[in-house]
Assembly symmetry: none
Amino acid sequence: MISKAPVQFQRRGRPRSERAQQAILGAASDLLYEQGLSAMNVALVAERAGVSKATIYRWWPSKEVLALDAFATDWETISPVQSPDTGSLRGDLHERFRIFWRLMRARPVGRVLTGLAAHAQADQEFAELYRERFLEPRRIATREIFQRALDRGEIPADADVEVALDLLYGSLLHRLFQGHAPLDDHFAHEVVELVVAALESRTSA
Amino acid sequence: MISKAPVQFQRRGRPRSERAQQAILGAASDLLYEQGLSAMNVALVAERAGVSKATIYRWWPSKEVLALDAFATDWETISPVQSPDTGSLRGDLHERFRIFWRLMRARPVGRVLTGLAAHAQADQEFAELYRERFLEPRRIATREIFQRALDRGEIPADADVEVALDLLYGSLLHRLFQGHAPLDDHFAHEVVELVVAALESRTSA
Amino acid sequence: MISKAPVQFQRRGRPRSERAQQAILGAASDLLYEQGLSAMNVALVAERAGVSKATIYRWWPSKEVLALDAFATDWETISPVQSPDTGSLRGDLHERFRIFWRLMRARPVGRVLTGLAAHAQADQEFAELYRERFLEPRRIATREIFQRALDRGEIPADADVEVALDLLYGSLLHRLFQGHAPLDDHFAHEVVELVVAALESRTSA
Amino acid sequence: MISKAPVQFQRRGRPRSERAQQAILGAASDLLYEQGLSAMNVALVAERAGVSKATIYRWWPSKEVLALDAFATDWETISPVQSPDTGSLRGDLHERFRIFWRLMRARPVGRVLTGLAAHAQADQEFAELYRERFLEPRRIATREIFQRALDRGEIPADADVEVALDLLYGSLLHRLFQGHAPLDDHFAHEVVELVVAALESRTSA
DNA sequence: CGGTAATCGAGACGGTACGTCATGTCTTACA
DNA sequence: TGTAAGACATGACGTACCGTCTCGATTACCG
């Protein structure tokens, strides 16, 4: 949950309904994938979850935060936490993005993500939350892969890992968001190959 | 203009008011940059342009299409049509993206672009228009740069130009959209360097 | 025509198109009977008449005046000018209202008339026109019938003919406007009988 | 109120704001009398009532139905429910129409009523509502007066009461709607006298 | 016979109201 | 105190019709 501090001892009054929270996130997630953020409206989430609108607004400050929570929660349940360690940068990246890619294609994630990104532009606080909840976890895991490559001396110590991350995620999300070209295995493979080639070539420089 | 075919001989009836169209696009563009797509509302555009809402809807089917038209028109007026030719792939790309970058920073373009991209996810027809009007023109110009490099033999004949384009535009737009790291000159420079290095290193492979 | 003074000698410039005027009145009349005043819109009249909106507004100051003109013109073509003279008040009235009644039922006149009456409440000038063009001609003709009855001594010299007219036309139009009861022959007959009975009974008073 | 069934036990959810409903009907009624139906617009009613447009549309399906409700409600509050019983048909009718007449003149009712009647011609469902809400209540009360006269034997058993009602209301509303002659006491008196005379004279027939 | 002028078709325009929809808040009764 | 039900304010949406306007094209007369 995003919204409230964890229960410490035992709060007074009727306890928060766990069932309701699950139902809300589930319904929100479903609607999000069906139509995207702009079509996920709170009244509909409430109806599908068998819950009142007030209950939703009690725990999430806006529909966008709810959407982010639903989306990230869903993503977390289907995505492995651990980065693979195959022994080489190339191998690790291929493995990691193979999985990432599969998840991306399993759900119409572009619709959701562009909506969240758009809202983040208009709301600083939400932007922070969005990066924390979706972007950074992915980057951290991938950063570890580069760290291992640095430790192994595969890439030069001054390699700009942050830029490499942007090349990887940026190009993938670009195709996802803009839809101008297919998101196939060949593309994912080629992106990784080119980024690795770039970093390695600069090693000798 | 998006909406009408060019004048052929002499159209019957009262001619479309050039002044009104300019004013509408101008007002829309202003509002777009001030607040972003979601805050640009048609009544306000009409008021600022000194025009009636009906006139807007006569020529643009929705506020999003108007926004796209205003944004692309604005972009076209400030953006050079020609790709530079410095004699080398590296030089051409640096030059091109230096300009692109400057334009990006001259206006709060992120808010607008994410808004348009988000809407494109919900509206197929609009997505087509969006790519045609914003995305493709940029890619075409950059593709020419790669073509010249291919002609000069700087990069291998089988180099995947489309992927290179996605690496370039994807990573730049990624930072613009997600806002997780600064959009500085160093970054723009590094992206181009890495992409060129990648393509060249694979030449020798 | 309502709108312009008659041509005196020969006006300069292109003469008014007789064909267009007929087509406009015809189209307006058709639409009026089909749907009533509120559904008769000027653009549609123009389209049906194969005429431009500007031409309509050149000759009629508003859609209501056009409607009144179309309605009254239509009514005049189907309605006999002369009042019958059967020799008795009762006979004359039955004859007159038999015809009036038949016309009323031949066309969905209620839809049109209520619209015009409603507009007359909001527009003094139009109200004047409306009475002049529709109401008074009918009353004048019926007044003649009463005058003959007075001349014959059928009804007392102090009989209030104006009230009698209101009883006759008022009750008929009431059913037409409100639609709470059928507009059958029995009703028309009974109305005339009661009014004649009332006037005659007061003779003896 | 038109819209909802009466409260049974205790309804769930936030109860309908009684204050808002009163304010809406009041504002609508005011505007109706000030300018007539066509000038009563929903946004203005909302503003005057200190209420949102959405609240109005929640309870009334169109501005016309709202207008009817406001008009009828207003009429009900100022109009006595009971028919007078003076012991004679003539007395009862004079008394009843004296009151009716006073109400009619107390407010610019013509504009409102013609507007409603005109709309009823274009909307079957509304027509039903209009008769139910405005027309029938008046006729029912007056029918009682005739019933008493029948019971007393003042008028023949086969007298057509419905036609008599149309003569009374029709002629009064005729002057109100068409405005061709004044709505004075003399007229109201004369109408009643003539109708009574007609019914009585046919008694002896 | 060419100029002048009113008229016409086409259709763009400003204005104004309509009715709909979604957000987020609030007010009840019940658990 | 939490929750379901649902009323409410706010504010934008896109549509429709009105009456005005601006063109070019047409059709008379008048000099």
